[in-house]
Symmetry: C2
Subunit: 433 residues, 2 copies
């Protein structure tokens, strides 16, 4: 077979910032691509919503179409690259492409988190490939290293900062004593947060990515609804101040951990020690820490979003798929999700806790609280009493605990809230050592 | 082809700590391996120096041999795994294995740094595969991410801490004010440094690894002798104190940088800002930062040595090669080193410098020194004068410069040393921003 005269024809679904980046990279890097896979990669057709919209990259109008079938049903299209985002209609397009035996590259975390196992099975059945490196961590190589380089490991845990928007907000709150609403506003002004920030701020986006990471790491099916989620909107500047005093920073972390055939999968704010590698991941950066039986802990750090970094990951997948298409070789389908594991309820979590309360500023308060905690086997690690409000005759009491069971902590919080001396449970956060 | 009834036969060269790790992993993880590549991987034969030596892992004595040909010339051996280290005879064995059409996995940085291009070409010619992930960064996935995940990038720079021994020593010097000899002694006692530490301490080991990284990143042939090297033995506790005062830490860094068709490749101690991600890589940990046009900076961090982490990387290569051998597929040979580039002399380096001198404690000294620097277009960024020794009537003067050319700095040092008021040029270090 003379590869030199062959060409891989790509059908591109979507031409937003990442789509434009892919078009630019395929055009500008054609020599590099040909040298790497032995044949050229051409854009055959691009699906857009609006033919006449002005675009960041010049493309001949004849390449554009608003009809999905022009790509999905064209036998000359070898590879479908989906960078449109959102669950529908992207899922339908990916399904159809695979049904037609076309290989697929996608950056779509929502589709992969919700329908990954189905699409992977379909790809295997059709002898096609589905690659999705760009769906987690933007330009950071993580899915391929996890499933290729670390494949001999039994993975025990993944800890990740995989949402740049929230990490930007939390970094502002950490270093500039900002309140959440102000930091969010600034992130929106800089284009780091959307007008409706729910997806990022409530941990939904990070939850999708964790579902994908956990599925690959533990070789089982972790669906996005299996991931326990709490967002960052109830964090206050006070929490950051206390965290600092205690030697911690606050991060929105995505954590998946295996114990035997049980899995934890959760996204929520945590206090982590200031000297932990993940504590130093600031601004819009992402990082994923993988813990395996052979390798111990490995950390991957870089830009988790943005047109160019995401294009880097999409292009790697295009070149990988292109290599196989050009040679008609079976893809090295390294992804199997057939292990039986159960998701552990958040109530069964055992970790340390940070509890901030507003209490009456009089003696005996701590004794009453400690009794409740003690009766539930929750042992106190530290207490800070501060910021007495003389007018209101209240004080702020921050308690951290030794490892305790979430169920017991929730029960304790109920009982604490009923104490006459406790005015308010200000915030409760988990501590990750 | 029924993969289930097939088996990949491995000939193992060497049974030190990594060899034992590989034997253990292949035995204990046989189910995982079979599930991942569709067939089993067996150890056919192990080359050892001494048949009767007691071993960390129990293996039937019939598997052991002291005759290389028992592995290299056995047609039933599909894959040769070399974990013996050292240039010879490892190189001869690898050559012979490839000549016989066997695929090869090696952890040997010295062989790959000195003979990588030859072996890669031989592998391609014979349709075999040579994989060497474990040769750089121990368990940290770096070579495959660099050549697969980041393959669409033009890499502009690599900055790495890739020698655990020296990083352990420097960390001790940073946080415990130790002198070099004391820190080295401690590293030796803990088994982190060898009795003859030259290879690590003089940057030879890091130089090998940088040659490999730079070759792959820039797709050209960088030989180990192309790498400029300076070790860490002339660093003193005083340098660390001044560095701290100036906001820096001192690390042994391996740096490769491209400008057009010119390459810098150098291993030497550098001052880097305390807040730089690489500044926080402490103890025996390694980290590699890759900078590409699409992805910007990505950092890979983890354990760069040790039996288990290195085994993790060797096993990944065995599984990758095994997959291809089982299916008779062409390996995705992503490594081409055919770009023409020239290595830039260290004299042409432009960077910032830290110069520590002992001078006469009298007025006018700085003026004389500044004149010499100024005449060579070296502009001063900061000056610290400290630690006057009243008895000797000397003071210590530390100068940092703005970006200057190495050639000019070396000339300045010569002229400074000739000044009557300059008693000694204490140390000169480069500063990496």
């Amino acid at each position: 077979m003379n590869l030199k005269n062959r060409s891989i024809n790509v059908g591109l679904l979507g031409m937003g910032v990442v789509g434009s980046g892919v078009v630019k990279a395929l055009t500008q890097k054609s020599a590099l691509i040909a040298q790497q896979i032995g044949c050229s990669v051409n854009i055959a057709r691009i699906l857009v919503k609006d033919m006449d919209k002005p675009r960041a990259v010049d493309v001949p109008k004849s390449l554009l179409t608003t009809t999905p079938a022009d790509i999905l049903e064209d036998p000359h299209v070898h590879l479908v690259v989906e960078v449109m985002g959102g669950e529908r209609p992207a899922l339908d397009y990916l399904r159809q492409a695979l049904q037609e035996g076309k290989s697929v590259v996608t950056a779509n975390k929502e589709v992969m988190a919700k329908h990954g196992p189905e699409l992977l099975a379909l790809a295997t059945q059709k002898g096609a490939q589905i690659l999705f490196e760009a769906s987690v961590g933007g330009g950071i190589p993580i899915l391929r290293p996890l499933t290729k380089d670390l494949r001999a490991n039994e993975i025990s845990a993944i800890r990740a900062i995989i949402n740049g928007t929230t990490n930007y907000i939390l970094t502002k709150m950490t270093y500039e004593n900002m309140e959440f609403t102000q930091a969010l506003k600034e992130a929106q002004e800089l284009g780091y947060a959307e007008a409706d920030p729910t997806n990022d701020v409530e941990g939904i986006d990070a939850g999708y990515k964790l579902a994908i990471l956990a599925s690959l790491a533990f070789r089982t099916k972790v669906a996005s609804q299996d991931v326990y989620r709490e967002g960052i909107s109830r964090l206050t500047a006070r929490d950051f101040r206390y965290a600092r005093e205690l030697g911690y920073v606050i991060k929105l972390m995505a954590i998946a951990r295996r114990e035997g055939d049980q899995l934890e999968a959760r996204v929520h704010p945590v206090l982590i020690p200031q000297e932990a590698p993940l504590a130093k991941v600031d601004g819009v950066f992402n990082a994923v820490e993988v813990e395996g039986d052979l390798v111990d802990k490995v950390l991957f750090h870089g830009r988790g979003a943005g047109s160019m970094p995401t294009t880097s990951a999409v292009m790697a997948d295009i070149l990988e798929a292109g290599w196989n298409i050009a040679r008609g070789t079976t893809p090295n389908s390294f992804v199997t999700l057939d292990r039986a594991m159960s998701i552990r309820s958040i109530s069964d979590l055992v970790t340390r806790y940070y509890i901030r309360t507003t209490v009456s500023d009089r003696s005996g308060v701590l004794a009453q609280m400690a009794t409740i905690l003690g009766n539930l086997q929750i042992s106190i690690a530290s207490v800070i009493q501060q910021e007495a409000d003389h007018k209101e005759q209240t004080a702020e009491l921050v308690i951290t605990t030794h490892p305790s069971r979430e169920r017991d902590v929730q029960q304790a919080l109920k009982e604490l809230a009923e104490l006459e001396v406790v005015r308010e449970i200000g915030n409760v956060l988990r501590v990750e050592e």
